[in-house]
């Protein structure tokens, strides 16, 4: 595959992530903050998001596994995950967190457990998608090309 083909593949893949709702406009904002002086900005921020999320998901699993569930704590964790997913543009994770918080308010353990599953699933999906995207970027750069600028008309 030549650089041009790889770039087209990257564009198509990125577009699909937006169309399928995995990513939203905030991800574009992140890309716009990346430049020659900060060439790894998006990968750095997203990597932090992965670390952060995995820690929070562990804490959530633990918190919901307790005899007496501390819903305030659960809600605080979900709020944090909602914030970070929103900040990187991980739309489906964010939306799953919003639904999750409603059930925290209701103090419904069963529903919360279902929500946790949902959030975990969405997180895994977006993580895989983004890792694929970053791999494509690495291939383009290794072949001497540059990452195209995303232009979306919403």
């Amino acid at each position: 595959m030549d650089v041009g083909q790889m770039q087209r593949q990257w564009l198509d893949y990125t577009r699909s992530l937006f169309i399928e709702g995995f990513l939203d406009n905030q991800f574009l904002q992140l890309q716009q903050l990346q430049d020659e002086n900060n060439p790894e900005f998006v990968v750095e921020v997203v990597s932090l998001f992965f670390e952060d999320s995995e820690r929070i998901l562990k804490d959530l699993t633990f918190a919901l596994d307790q005899q007496g569930v501390d819903f305030k704590k659960v809600d605080a964790h979900v709020h944090q995950l909602k914030g970070s997913s929103s900040s990187v543009g991980a739309q489906r994770v964010k939306n799953a967190c919003i639904a999750f918080r409603n059930f925290c308010e209701e103090q419904n353990v069963e529903a919360c457990l279902r929500c946790l599953q949902q959030v975990k699933q969405e997180y895994c999906l977006v993580k895989n998608k983004l890792e694929t995207l970053f791999r494509l970027e690495q291939q383009i750069v290794a072949a001497g090309g540059s990452i195209p600028m995303m232009e979306l008309s919403f």
């Binding site: 905030q26 904002q29 992140l30 716009q32 903050l33 900060n38 900005f41 750095e44 921020v45 932090l48 998001f49 952060d52 709020h79 944090q80 909602k82 914030g83 970070s84 929103s86 900040s87 990187v88």
Partner: protein
């Protein structure tokens, strides 16, 4: 406006989320602001107080009535609302209650769109309230507030701050 526009402004960013701190710092730096980012309200107050202390230590013989902004050397504070221990609102209040810090413009950020929260912050003296995730267009709104505080130092009156608050109140009404 020539000199003020070219001056590098120092913004103190406060947010307990590492990702959000990195983002706001990057956003502010693309606007050529000098940035200090801390992860709590108490660290912010310490930073503001510490700088003041250092200034005093450097000039022990001065009995000057320097303007507060010059002493502290922070031109704007942008803080998250939801933080453990000290919220952005608590921090805002402490700043407005402090003789030396009250003239520093404060901007609040929040992921939640709660009108009563927004009103409370504006009434307590916040210049702006940004919904997260903060955008470049939000950061572009900061410069007038910074220029206003520079102008204030020279002793001129400026209506920009009041206009801004009223505009926001009208929008929220």
């Amino acid at each position: 406006m020539g000199l003020a526009a070219e001056a590098q402004f120092h913004v103190l960013a406060v947010d307990d989320s590492l990702i959000d701190r990195i983002l706001i710092e990057r956003l502010l730096k693309t606007s050529s602001f000098h940035v200090t980012a801390v992860d709590s309200g108490s660290k912010a107050l310490k930073f503001l107080g510490l700088v003041e202390e250092e200034q005093r230590n450097e000039e022990p013989s001065f009995v000057s009535q320097k303007s507060h902004n010059q002493d502290i050397d922070v031109n704007l504070i942008i803080t998250d609302y939801c933080m453990p221990e000290m919220t952005g609102y608590d921090l805002l209040r402490k700043i407005k209650e402090s003789k030396s810090l009250k003239d520093i413009p404060v901007v609040i950020m929040s992921s939640e769109n709660v009108p009563s929260r927004i009103n409370r912050c504006l009434e307590e003296g916040a210049e702006e309230f940004f919904l997260k995730p903060v955008q470049q267009s939000d950061v572009n709104k900061l410069r007038p507030h910074l220029l206003k505080s520079k102008v204030k130092e020279v002793g001129e009156e400026d209506q920009v701050i009041n206009l801004s608050r009223n505009d926001i109140k009208e929008i929220l009404a």
